[in-house]
Point group: C2
Chain length 222, copies 2
């Protein structure tokens, strides 16, 4: 996945028309679109091809899969068949299911979710570290690390090294400013509400882009 702006748009809107209108407006400023269940349950998985029709950028299915291998691989197959370029699964499902999903995905991207952005999530740093190690050992494309916890992003980067892509959620609406997760070691920041809740999404994303660009220019991890 190529980085231009460092922004992955979290398409958590349920209003399809509004969503398509925003994506058309900001397509040049984003590197990928992340779609989750609120959108897919409301619009159907067909939404993937509708988004592809207006912009040719990677779509990541943030399905945070929490099932056994049989169901997990089935969900991956459906997502890829529907046009997604990557799928997110939860690392706590364990090495067998993760490995089977990576195999099924082939050249497509499997991202492994490590731990939560919310402070009372029950995946602790030790478990999250274990998940990151497994993701690296099995050759996942990347991991998701919590943008609300820069120290954890930094630690997870130490574990996975430079081979894996780190995408970070929780930027903007949940508190941390744009650029902070990339500064801590992430490759991309997943931003949703700070863009689609803005009165002027194009202006909002340009401001975000500037802040990330300032961090990228320094070209160092803290």
């Amino acid at each position: 996945m190529k980085r231009k702006s460092g922004i992955i748009f979290a398409a958590d809107l349920q209003n399809e028309e509004h969503l398509i209108s925003i994506i058309s407006e900001i397509a040049d400023n984003i590197d990928a679109v992340k779609i989750g269940y609120p959108l897919v349950l409301s619009s159907g998985i067909q939404i993937v091809k509708k988004i592809k029709n207006i912009c040719d950028i990677p779509i990541i299915a943030d399905f945070k899969i929490m099932d056994t291998s049989v169901i997990a691989t089935t969900i991956v197959k459906i997502a890829l068949y529907s046009g997604c370029d990557g799928v997110m699964l939860c690392g706590v499902i364990g090495p067998t299911a993760i490995s089977d999903c990576i195999e099924i995905a082939g050249k497509n991207m499997i991202f492994v979710f490590t731990e939560f952005t919310q402070p009372d999530g029950l995946i602790n740093p030790k478990l999250s570290d274990d998940v990151a190690r497994i993701a690296k050992d099995l050759g996942a494309y990347g991991i998701q690390a919590p943008g609300t916890k820069p120290d954890r992003v930094k630690r997870l980067r130490e574990i996975v090294g430079s081979d894996l892509t780190i995408i970070s959620c929780g930027i903007g609406a949940q508190g941390p400013p744009p650029g902070s997760a990339i500064k801590a070691g992430a490759d991309f920041e997943i931003i949703g509400r700070a863009i689609y809740d803005s009165k002027n999404p194009k202006f909002a994303i340009k401001e975000i882009e500037k802040r990330i660009s300032n961090v990228l220019r320094k070209n160092t991890y803290d």
Copy 2:
């Protein structure tokens, strides 16, 4: 949720016609239908109302939600609005998101997933015990416990007491015989492949019913 047979049908089929045909055939023998993402992604969430049209039994959305409160409650709302009677979320999302989902669900059922059936799942017994305690303290309707691990079902029953409903997956195709999870302390067993992969689903479910009935007649937990 009333228990007659003790069987929750795991509707993991992706062929809608086949699914509707099997549910029509076995509707009298099951207490609820559990739908998951493979089905919903293939058929759309509208499948819930199609199932309701042929049988008036509870439908549980096995969405194993792994998100922050904002997204988790949105998914619960969509599932209930679509006709589901219960939703499964993952206990590791933590007390705030669980509590918010229980509040949103009102009289509908929130089930909290504790730990995996697969042996290499990374949610260990201690974390699973913590999740069960939180589910009980927050007033969840029930928990999901791994039918492949009868000792864990027994322990989780000790933790949640008799107030919470325990549903157990992994029965049949993953190894344990019908009745074994109920014997260990569950209220319902979730069974899918052993029914829909059978050449004669009606015969298969009657055999399963008999075995569970033998356990229920003894009316004791091990």
